[in-house]
Amino acid sequence: MTHLESEINKIRQAALEMMNMVRNQMRKCKEALMTGNKELALDVMHQEKRVNGYELMIDNDCENLIACFSPVAIDLRFVLATLKINYHLERIGDNADGMARNVLDLEDAWSEELLMQLQLVEVFDMVDEMMNDVITSFENEDSSQARSVFEKDKQIDLITDNALKIIAEYIRKDQDNVEKNLLLLLIHRKLERIGDLMKNISEEIIFFLEAKVLKHLSKN
């Protein structure tokens, strides 16, 4: 292995560790939200500091690699993609932290019926599958798995659109818990944002592996 390859490998390993850390954060977040477990919520917030630390470390390593090795072609695309993936992962961590804070603010748990209607468990599970797809894709350098994230993001968007109507209806019926139920809307929005960030990460992996830019394609 050349010096450059070993430096790239170091960054790849750190990025994979960060992906797994954020995935773990999201799993704990789901558990905390479903059960109202504040200890777990605190754990998610604590992990956010580690995620931030990884972001700084990966940024620094990428900067050094560009300065010292002037990478080109697939190596350059790897560094550029990893810098952006790093940023998106940190944003996912922020959103997980935000949801954990929502759990801490909660005085009593949400109604199970409402949680079911909102399909929160399904959305969390889809995010977990998306995480699995991007980790496998990045690790095995297989862009096909990254592509499967796009469909899941669409599904999350549909569920979130529906969530607004469900929560509005619930608030009309349950006037005593307006603030508590509105928190669920915020949580849904964060999950939708996380889906978008996972899609961005997949696009970066495809850019790295195939030199194709997919950003904004569907909007144009």
Binding site: T2, L4, S70, V72, A73, I74, L76, A211
Partner: protein, 265 residues
């Protein structure tokens, strides 16, 4: 003007393509050194030829001013066109060709003459007698080669007293003094320090406004910095030829990628 323009070969085709090779093969005896190269080079561009040692890039460069003719047992097939004129046709004298195609080598090779006489040399060989014209061209060429400020007070001094970087810029001034349309450069900075290297690179960027430059380099970063197009040669084949930005961000051929990322072999 008292001096006949050297551009008698070119200026007739009105095409953007100045240099072109069509199905070019070159053999050194039994060795097949260039294998069917098709390539077009546009006017006022910088084209970098890259590839591992022995891949044929310098051989290809030397085709454009018929330097390979000097090597015994060389056989060339196909066409090399300068402004749509076959430069290997019997109607084109080599001397006439070399007025149009200047060359700068890896190691600075000034003549053991004064700085002034080095730059004036090509014009004198071409029979230019007009002293005022020669003087004007010497000054202009030294300015174009960004050497004027450093030598204007010592033009009569020996060129051999200059530093390596200055000598190389003097050689560039000497090459452009006869107003060629093409400038060939064979690893022009490989023997220079980083400061001289960056001066030459900046000079290449300035010179492409007036000249079409083809440069052989082993320095990938130099190729990516100075050239508009890059051609990757391997084992006598032209593997890939594209915009430099494409070559260094998304090469189409895996062999190109392996070479430029240092994974070759």
């Amino acid at each position: 003007m008292t001096y006949d323009s050297p551009h008698s070969i070119i200026g007739n085709s009105h095409s953007d393509v100045l240099l072109k090779s069509v199905g070019t093969h070159l053999y050194y005896g039994d060795v097949h050194a260039l294998k069917g190269i098709d390539m077009s080079i546009n006017t006022n561009t910088v084209t970098a030829l890259i590839g591992p040692s022995g891949c044929g890039k310098s051989t290809y460069l030397r085709l454009f001013n018929r330097m390979n003719d000097l090597i015994p047992n060389v056989r060339i097939e196909g066409e090399i066109l300068l402004d749509n004129v076959d430069i290997y046709s019997k109607q084109i004298p080599v001397e006439e060709l070399r007025k149009n195609v200047g060359m700068v080598f890896q190691k600075p090779n000034p003549f053991p003459k004064s700085i002034y006489e080095n730059v004036a040399y090509g014009m004198r060989v071409n029979g230019v007698k007009d002293k005022t014209y020669i003087e004007e061209r010497v000054v202009t060429s030294l300015k174009q080669a960004t050497l004027w400020e450093e030598v204007k007070d010592k033009l009569k001094k020996s060129a051999l007293e200059l530093s390596g970087g200055q000598q190389q810029r003097l050689c560039i001034a000497r090459a452009i003094a006869v107003e060629p349309s093409v400038l060939l450069m064979d690893e022009p900075t490989s023997a220079l320090d980083p400061i001289s290297n960056s001066k030459i690179e900046e000079l290449i960027f300035q010179l492409k406004k007036e000249f079409t430059i083809v440069i052989v380099t082993h320095n990938m970063q130099q190729a990516s910095r100075v050239s508009d197009k890059t051609a990757f040669f391997y084992l006598g084949e032209l593997v890939e030829y594209d915009d430099t930005q494409n070559i260094f961000t998304k090469p189409k051929e895996i062999r190109t990628q392996n070479y430029i990322t240092g994974r070759f072999g």
